[in-house]
Amino acid sequence: MTDMEILAHAIVLGSSALGAGAAMIAGIGPGIGEGYCGGKAVEAIGRQPEASGAVTRTMIIGDAIAETTGIYALVVALLLLYANPILGSLQSALGM
């Protein structure tokens, strides 16, 4: 490996780590969403305690839907960390 190739690899690896961290900022969204979901469910159960089973069931489904974007971000971060496609394209561009 020449110096330039090492430098190119270092830049790609460092940027991928930064990108993985930045992707997980998306965790804010599901956090807020699930917080609202849980809060409203508590309010609903407070008003109608007899409907707690149905409310909890609906809340869990709502949580799961709200969580989707966070899971997408996690998948992107995991791809960047463990199955980096950018590193592969760099290596094929360098002919390695």
Partner: protein, 244 residues
């Protein structure tokens, strides 16, 4: 400068060997057939173990049943069947009786696949091909139910509902359902696996008590909840696909 860089890269390579890594499922065997490479992975082997466990559970719970239950295992079996019955009736309605066996085996199978990581095996649901398979089955059941209830006209009309220009977004919405289902289960399981591994790696030789508490949430709670969510979403997608 060049030597410094080379030394840095050697140090980095050494650090990578000691560092925490996540690997996919191991490939146990692979062979060539029909011009493709077929891999027998760890996930498949663990799924066979799960199927054996389910078979044993069925044999233990399902034999020697009486009209008036006298044994504890029959009470457990009846509780399980009633749970699935109520779940399907509650969220799909009475006319989806024929889906009960599939929904029942789906929840038991996914729960066992998630919980088998407790005995040290790699959870099959932490492999995207397993979760994608389950999500694709749901996708085809959804399409089947729409085609069955609406026939060809209703099936095609569902894509231009409510207005014709909604066609692209309806198609994207239809495809994104299985993608999000597969990635949700996979993401939760793999996140639990990664965080568990990181905790063990960070604690080193002092890994007592703390991994157990983390495992309580990431393996048991998350595993059961995600299996429940996967089943509930399967049921609601199938019953929402119904045409009037």
């Amino acid at each position: 400068m060049p030597t410094a860089m080379l030394m840095a890269s050697e140090a980095a390579a050494e650090a990578t060997q000691n560092a925490f890594t996540v690997s996919g499922p191991l490939i146990v065997a692979s062979w060539e057939m029909f011009g493709m490479t077929w891999n027998l992975t760890e996930s498949v082997i663990v799924q066979w173990i799960v199927m054996l466990i389910i078979l044993v559970i069925c044999l233990v719970l399902g034999t020697g049943l009486k009209v008036i239950p006298t044994t504890r295992r029959q009470a457990l079996a009846e509780w399980l069947v009633t749970f699935v019955n109520d779940m399907v009736d509650g969220s799909m309605g009475e006319k989806y009786k024929s889906y009960k066996p599939y929904i029942g085996i789906l929840i038991v199978y996914v729960i066992l696949c998630n919980l088998i990581s407790l005995v040290g095996l790699r959870a099959p649901t932490a492999d995207v091909s397993v979760t994608a398979t389950l999500a694709i089955i749901t996708f085809f059941m959804t399409q089947y139910n729409r085609a069955k209830t609406g026939k060809l006209k209703g099936y095609l009309k569902a894509f231009i509902d409510p207005l014709p220009f909604m066609l692209p977004s309806n198609i994207i919405g239809e495809i994104s359902n299985p993608v999000s289902m597969a990635l949700r289960l996979f993401g939760n399981m793999v996140a639990g696996m990664v965080i568990g591994g990181l905790i063990y790696f960070a604690l080193g030789n002092f890994a007592v008590l703390i991994p157990a508490v983390a495992s309580l949430y990431f393996d048991i709670f998350s595993g059961v909840i995600q299996a429940y969510i996967f089943t509930m979403l399967t049921m609601s997608y199938i019953s929402n696909a119904e045409c009037e």
